[in-house]
Symmetry: C2
Subunit: 287 residues, 2 copies
């Protein structure tokens, strides 16, 4: 009986299939089968009932699952309390929404590589809805998105809000929302819906809203005078100094964007836990 056998057993038990576990663990499917067979042979006990559409735990498999989870609880404690961070290796999959990618994500990744010098990072920048989906599908280890994610298996660490301001092309003069398009976030995002709702309530159904999945494309459109829009104050710096855009005040602001660092709690994920902390530090440092 080895750790790897038990870990494999747990993933197969959790995901209900050899194939699914093999994908989760970046392993060939026969390798997972072999590990299970080896474990069953080591204990001389049948752990799964095989059926054509997957596997289910036997009574003894259920019992073993409890014990195996206890083992990995202790295992994670060892990693947290004793293992030096430089011993942690493998790939850590981070998902971030673009706002974060454009602000403190570099600082976060720098801290990460400093604390975990042997850990490689796989970064995906996407809209929060997709990040949420990827996290729940275990395609990500940590998601930095507009949260929180309401799911019993997800832990959400609140990150500092991102304040928005209105921006327009420099020297554009008074803004008429009835005539000027508002350039906003991608559809299917919470700030987009909130912005559209606020605009309609204030200026009626005549308001035009452009949406863009790219934050930098948005600010370029604003700079080009195509429209105006709310934009994270802290991102405006360069173009503001270059005199391409300027801030204006229509008398109201969309709500600040609230972000979370979110990760699955299920496999007692101490690495993701610590990385969420690092993200919080990095995000707080910028302000």
């Amino acid at each position: 009986m080895t750790f790897e056998q038990l870990r494999t057993f747990l993933w197969v038990a959790r995901l209900g299939g050899v194939r699914r576990a093999s994908e989760q663990m970046n392993l060939s499917q026969p390798a997972v089968s072999a590990r299970l067979a080896a474990l069953e042979d080591a204990l001389k006990v049948r752990l799964f009932e095989r059926s054509p559409r997957g596997v289910t735990l036997t009574r003894q498999g259920e019992m073993l699952k409890d014990y195996a989870e206890q083992m990995f609880f202790v295992h994670e404690e060892i990693r947290r309390r004793i293992t030096h961070p430089s011993a942690i290796e493998g790939t850590f999959r981070v998902g971030a929404s673009e706002t974060i990618a454009q602000t403190w994500l570099p600082g976060f990744l720098e801290r990460l590589s400093l604390e975990y010098p042997r850990l490689s990072v796989e970064l995906s920048v996407d809209i929060s809805v997709n990040l949420r989906e990827s996290l729940l599908a275990r395609k990500l280890d940590l998601a930095l998105l507009m949260g929180p994610i309401s799911d019993y298996s997800v832990v959400n660490i609140a990150l500092p809000d991102v304040e928005l301001s209105w921006f327009q092309a420099a020297g554009r003069g008074q803004v008429d929302f009835a005539a000027t398009p508002v350039i906003s976030y991608a559809r299917n995002t919470r700030p987009y819906r909130e912005l559209v709702e606020a605009l309609f309530r204030r200026y009626g159904p005549g308001v035009r809203v452009y949406s863009s999945t790219s934050l930098s494309a948005s600010i370029q459109m604003i700079a080009a005078g195509i429209g105006v829009g709310p934009y994270p104050s802290m991102l405006a710096g360069e173009r503001l100094r270059a005199g391409q855009i300027e801030q204006f005040d229509p008398g109201w602001l969309p709500r600040p964007l609230s972000f979370t660092a979110s990760y699955l709690s299920e496999p007692r994920n101490s690495l993701a836990e610590r990385c969420a902390d690092i993200a919080l530090e990095a995000a707080s440092q910028v302000r």
Copy 2:
């Protein structure tokens, strides 16, 4: 980090030396060194301070020891509750005093091999003092002896007392303890000392006592008329029926012999625990 690395670490920590652990584990000494080095490399943490006369735990080593012990607690639970007995293999070292070897030990070994068909047994028959010493030196996994062993690390399971009766050669007539040697157990055993004390108290210092480390030699001497002696009633059967010896009653009897099945509790020894139970069953069955 593997189970074997952790197990090796624990033994080195407990015994305070690589060499001692290697003996305990039936492993070459470099193999133990290599396992420790591999563990330290896996955690990227120094676990031992090496000194010329052994090793001592570092602060982090101390912490790991606690976690490792938790791991093996769970590990033992898995063995107890889930592992099929036929999966248990290796060598189980049993020590037994001769009285037991001559009575229910065969029954015990039969039950043992039935429940653990892949377990091989290493049997040592010796006097209880030596068995005690071997057990404490971890040279035995289970000792069936005149117990209990008063040591905080030893668990003693009481076994049924063995009743004694006086025997002499058939047709010898009235026994005069002043003239007839008493053939008894080996020196350095509790029943020997108790017998000598009782004889002196009753018949004065003139009584002669022969001691023998072999129970079957004793009964042969009795049958040959060399002397008389107390002897487990249940062992007398064959020679009694053959008319070689006969029981007699001098009006008193030595106290029954009290036995225990004893094992070390330290490494949460569930196998020894179960085997002690089997021993109790085997011993009780005979009566």
